[in-house]
């Protein structure tokens, strides 16, 4: 159990720019360590996005609960959100020594985040999704997401019901 908690603690430090930057890393670690199969990972992602709360926290809770019940869920959640608290405590301290230009730092951080989210996107899509109907759903959602103001949660639920009929 310590190993699992440590994985989430470690990943928590890289969660810049919202949860999606670390979902790809979670996938890798979960499958490599045998906590989830790819099919179980897709379930975990769907459920985490459809329930209230941040997706990365929900993933951590879900995996912890599956593996070690309530205790695993609590510890995973706690350790995933510990890094921002640690950084916040040290940031005021470090700020006295390191003088960095905020704008340049944000822009550089932005690039690193784009890399991680690209990785999540490719990991979710590439190796295992071969069903063309899923790819069509993904592409349609992409267009709806960037072109309209429809709340993504409705698109995801709609796609779920569509999936129950055409993929079930």
């Amino acid at each position: 159990m310590l190993k699992m908690i440590f994985i989430f603690f470690k990943i928590g430090f890289l969660a810049f720019g919202g949860g999606w930057s670390i979902v790809g890393l979670m996938q890798e670690e979960m499958i490599k360590n045998g906590y989830l199969s790819f099919a179980q990972f897709t379930e975990a992602v769907s459920i985490s996005q459809m329930t209230p709360g941040p997706v990365a926290v929900n993933m951590a809770t879900y995996v912890g609960y599956r593996q070690y019940g309530i205790i695993g869920a609590i510890l995973n959640t706690f350790f995933l959100v510990l890094p921002p608290v640690i950084i916040l405590v040290f940031a005021t301290f470090l700020g006295k020594f390191i003088k960095a230009d905020k704008e340049k730092l944000f822009s550089s951080l932005g690039i690193a985040t784009v890399i991680l989210v690209s990785l999540t996107f490719l990991q979710m899509l590439l190796p295992n999704v071969t069903e063309y109907r899923i790819i069509i759903i993904a592409f349609m959602t992409f267009l709806l997401y960037i072109k309209t103001k429809i709340d993504p949660i409705y698109i995801i639920l709609g796609a779920g019901f569509l999936g129950a009929f055409i993929l079930g």
């Binding site: 926290v57 916040l88 230009d101 996107f121 997401y145």
Partner: protein, 179 residues
Amino acid sequence: MIFKLFWMFLKVSALTLGGGYAMVPVMDKQLQSKGIMNEKDFYEILTIAQSLPGPIAFNVALLCGKKAAGIKGAFASTLGVLIPPFFAIVLAASIIKKYSDNIYVKGFLKGSYGAVIGMVGGVLYKMASKQQWNLFKIITCIAGVLILLANKDIVVVVFLFVIILNYIYESKKGSRTNA
């Protein structure tokens, strides 16, 4: 105040679907209407929250709670944010365990997974459009993705390397235009 913060964040977290970015505007509205925080303070907090690792909704709750009522406030607020999804997930996980062999449930999860992929693509698209791209950034970005696809164990090294490299590049470029 402590209980007010806890209750407010609990409510927002329980009633907002769709992750952190959906929660932030609701938090802003609630905090202002309850007179806990003004708009200027909230946006300052939001900027800091975005520069920290970790889920944005959690970071906003942490910082707002701390600002409004110190460490106890921070604790109450983050607890409020975390409790509803925790029970929702535990509940969902036990339901899924029971019905995961049902073909309709399987189809539903597959379909929504497809939509989530599309949404992540959309998030990426919006994130990338906000960047001011130049050749150097494009190269480091592509190189970073390729390296990580090949080996994810060095993610921390790549992450820091990209930040430092881009920071140096921006500084050099800045001094050239100044001179």
